[in-house]
Symmetry: C2
Subunit: 110 residues, 2 copies
DNA sequence: ATACATTAGTTACGAAAAGTAATCTAATGA
DNA sequence: TCATTAGATTACTTTTCGTAACTAATGTAT
């Protein structure tokens, strides 16, 4: 039995947190507002708020406030966040090659 | 608001399932028995059992029974499972570069 | 001044899911 | 009968989730 690298384990736990992957995917496309993400992702406002706070705390997401009318708040990826792009891209490639349309349907139907 | 690709969403949900990443990491090192994984990973037997069943159902993990004394059961990655290696490697690289030792400590201390 | 609209959350709370440890089952050979 | 491996089951606690209502800041209309 060998030890897990603590940094790896930490990364894994973070990235395994529900919705974190999808939020990263969303932000890789560019800056997003709270309400845009809420509309795009199958996630409630409460959870989205929780996750954004978590990702901000971890230095992965940045929160920018623009004092316009009405107030506009944009979320973007930090350098640390952008560095996760290869992970997301690999998952996309894998999904295209190995996840069948039928498998994917399981998610919807419930 | 654009639609999420169902295959990608399915892959993301699967890979975001708690412990799945660590189990894949473990199996990328080679065939493992139930008790080895239980010892290596911070996860109870019940959950390990659940996750292995899930991964087997998804065609990612294979379960091989050897009728020896005592019975030996080994888990290995299928081709579909091995194809996830780049994802895990990317996460390792990212963790080494961006997760500080202090951050990693958060995981342990609780 | 008062009331309303807009964006971005927060809070409260019950329901559901996930977590654990400990104990039980089953197959097989010594 | 006991030991070994693998896992299922039970009983229980903890965490997480989703809905819906509420807050806060700011500008606009009356």
């Amino acid at each position: 039995m060998d030890q897990l690298c603590p940094r790896f384990e930490k990364a894994m736990v973070l990235l395994s947190t529900r919705w974190v992957g999808l939020i990263l995917f969303e932000l890789l496309k560019g800056a997003k507002r709270f309400s845009e993400m809420e509309a795009d992702l199958p996630i409630s406002g409460r959870l989205l708020s929780d996750r954004l706070k978590l990702l901000e705390k971890e230095g992965i997401v940045e929160r920018n406030i623009y004092s316009e009318f009405p107030v506009r708040i944009e979320y973007t990826l930090s350098e640390k966040g952008k560095a996760l792009e290869p992970v997301i891209k690999d998952i996309q490639r894998w999904a295209e090659e190995y996840v069948s349309a039928d498998d994917a349907a399981d998610n919807e139907v419930k």
